[in-house]
Symmetry: C2
Subunit: 430 residues, 2 copies
């Protein structure tokens, strides 16, 4: 029965895996709310043209596309940004600026399977729209750092590497390159970290057909600091913007998390300013998150021109990083209270107690079939449930129960009228 498996590149989430996923999503949500971002979502599939509008026809290679029964060509979303741009474009100026939106989309890419990559995965997306100033870039980078530190990672675990597309453009154009050459160059430069130095040199020469121009590229990529660049290109605007950005990040107390790295290019064509990627400190994994400025996208979808900056972080690489650091959600018992009973007890009293506890927001597990007391105690231990309420026939007659605290081993007979107070007291001592 080989068809009864998950499709290639997808995952089942049994409870243990789901606790981990929920932990990440809950922490993401907390960070986003503290940074005043509002939650949004869009359809899971969109008209195919939404994606070609932004990325060209070649995007189809990595899309799950299909034609529905009404003849519409649709695609499972590979990213949320086109949907966000469509949503902003559709509402025009009726959305108050700045727009601060977050989402946790489930996404699909038909890609070759490899470490850190699945065909079905999740992302955190955070976007600020309506602010052209570099203060928005700083705010967004502060948010991505908070997302990482809220999860328990710190500056020894990760860095945010920052560069600027407009800076690269100015440097390349000043070095004699034509604008039209740049997109292909960015695509190559984005793959540089995954190549050996020799391979990169060979590909660069293939693309440029000119050793002198290739050397220029290598020179640009050898700049290590903004000060080094300023010596050669004083007073250019992208450099001033980057310096402003680092000054804001320093004021936010984040200097130790961030670093200029001219090697950060981002493959996608639509970035228009500052770009950044978050890497684990050893750069042994793919990027945990990446983003930047995309001021032209909303107008590409027919909206009014809207400056924008955003990032996306995937759940797969981040999950691997958290596990490699031993970070996991706290273990929680499935219930506060186990309601034990004896086979001979009429269930009416147990069910009444279960309702009573639940109406006071106390979670209750009980055996759904006649089971020996020993077996029930085994389950209580296996599930780590802290409190047991024992309602035998004697207790039922007297309107009492026996309460046992599994942590201390203490037992007490409690009148039903005092039960909620007693349990609340014991549960507050966790």
């Amino acid at each position: 029965m080989s068809t009864f498996t998950t499709p290639k590149g997808t995952r089942d989430f049994y409870p243990e895996a789901m606790v981990f996923r929920d932990f990440i999503f809950d922490m993401w949500t907390q960070t986003c709310r503290r940074y005043c971002f509002e939650h949004i979502d869009a359809p899971l599939f969109e008209h195919f043209e939404l994606y070609t509008q932004k990325s060209g026809e070649e995007i189809e290679r990595q899309l799950y596309t299909f034609v529905d029964k009404g003849g519409r060509k649709l695609a499972l979303r590979p990213e949320l940004t086109p949907s966000v741009a469509r949503m902003v474009a559709a509402k025009g100026t009726s959305l108050k600026r700045p727009i601060r939106w977050y989402s946790i989309p489930r996404l699909f890419r038909y890609e070759r399977m490899q470490k850190g990559r699945l065909r079905e995965f999740f992302q955190l997306n955070m976007d600020i729209l309506g602010i052209a100033e570099v203060s928005a870039d700083a705010e967004l980078i502060a948010a991505v750092i908070a997302m990482m530190t809220d999860l328990g990672l710190d500056k020894d675990d990760f860095s945010v590497l920052i560069s600027s597309r407009t800076l690269l453009e100015e440097l390349f154009v000043a070095s004699g390159f034509a604008q039209a050459e740049l997109p292909a160059l960015y695509a190559l430069l984005d793959k540089k970290p995954k190549m050996s130095a020799e391979e990169f040199e060979r590909k660069l020469n293939e693309q440029l057909h000119d050793p002198a121009r290739a050397a220029t590229i290598q020179k640009v990529f050898s700049y290590e600091t903004l000060d080094d660049i300023e010596k050669d290109f004083a007073g250019i605007q992208p450099l001033a913007d980057l310096m402003q950005l680092f000054s804001y990040l320093t004021a936010l107390g984040l200097a130790e998390y961030v670093r200029f790295d001219i090697g950060i290019v981002r493959g996608l064509a639509y970035y228009t300013g500052i770009v950044f990627e978050v890497f684990d400190k050893h750069k042994s994994m793919r990027a945990v998150a990446g983003g930047g400025r995309y001021d032209n996208l909303v107008s590409l979808y027919g909206g009014q021109s809207t400056p924008a900056v955003g990032f996306a972080a995937g759940d797969v690489v981040l999950g691997d990083l958290l596990m490699s650091r031993g970070i996991a959600p706290p273990v929680q018992a499935r219930a506060d209270v186990y309601l034990a009973e004896f086979a001979e007890t009429h269930p009416r009293y147990s069910l009444e107690l279960a309702s009573l506890l639940r109406s006071h927001r106390i979670s209750v597990e009980y055996s759904l079939k006649s089971t020996g007391f020993g077996k029930q105690m085994k389950q209580i231990n296996a599930l780590g449930i802290p409190l047991v309420v024992i309602a035998g026939s004697q207790e039922a007659e007297r309107n009492t129960v026996k309460v046992k605290d599994m942590r201390s081993g203490e037992e007490e007979i409690v009148d039903k009228s005092r039960l909620i107070a007693k349990l609340s007291d014991l549960l507050s001592h966790r």
Copy 2:
């Protein structure tokens, strides 16, 4: 640009709509945890055969199917139950019984659009697997009632109508029907509430070709209480099970929410025992939720025989019901504190304050570009933010801030070292 709209039958979730969706999902999650259900999920698409195995080839009519680039025939999930059965079957006995699982899947059905139906929607699914006893049916019905009441609905708003497939089967077989006739009969009976009495009679005669047999069906459907049935069919097991179920539900304090209704059939072929549906009190809408026992499904997917009972509740009808009752999530301000500043202030002090507040879990909004103070106050009022921290150049020099409580109008100059204590105090008075 007509392609830049949502595909037919799908929705954008702008922040306002998303607050409503999150409210429903959060309440669902709370109910499930209090009832000790564990969260799970499965891939968004599955191998096509997973669905035909349960529902036959005709299911394709309402599926979004596609062939991926590897030649696999896949389908967007129209329900989660086949995935749940696959997951349980795959793990065999290594999953501890009883299994109590919940999920909030996003689902897809290519259906004719009508009130309460979309092509992309969400469900709450709750399932108990491993318990054959009717106590599990009672527990699950208690959970669906808690889900409704936790959302603010009460017994004047909805009822749970309960019947039994095995009861119907016994009554029909005792009345001379063959087992093989029953699935087609269930499909017709499930549609009865949507037809006029005349239309139903006509269709019934078409199907049975025998007025006497049609009259038998009408007689079975005229039973109003379990006692009425017992007079004609004393001592049959399905009747005893239903009576046991109602006795448990009464012990749980839920008698006023539940009612026997022989007209509840459920269209799907796979139910094997008790079935139920949740309706708004006026039955003016589609069912809010429906479920029942499906003891054969896990073995259909190659697993060991596992008794099971579950229900699903959709977000669309439930959302309509909540809105018709005026139930909505509490309005929340986007931030606890707005950090106001004057154009001439060096942003360094503001950014330092923003970091300070956020490190103490206080959410902060501030203007990301130079804006007049009046415009900032307008935004504070529009967003309903309760507290304002004003950091002008004078305050920056003295390491103080002015704190303004927008609710009382009171202002106070506070030393930076006392700021967190002051804000925490003010925020605790909400």
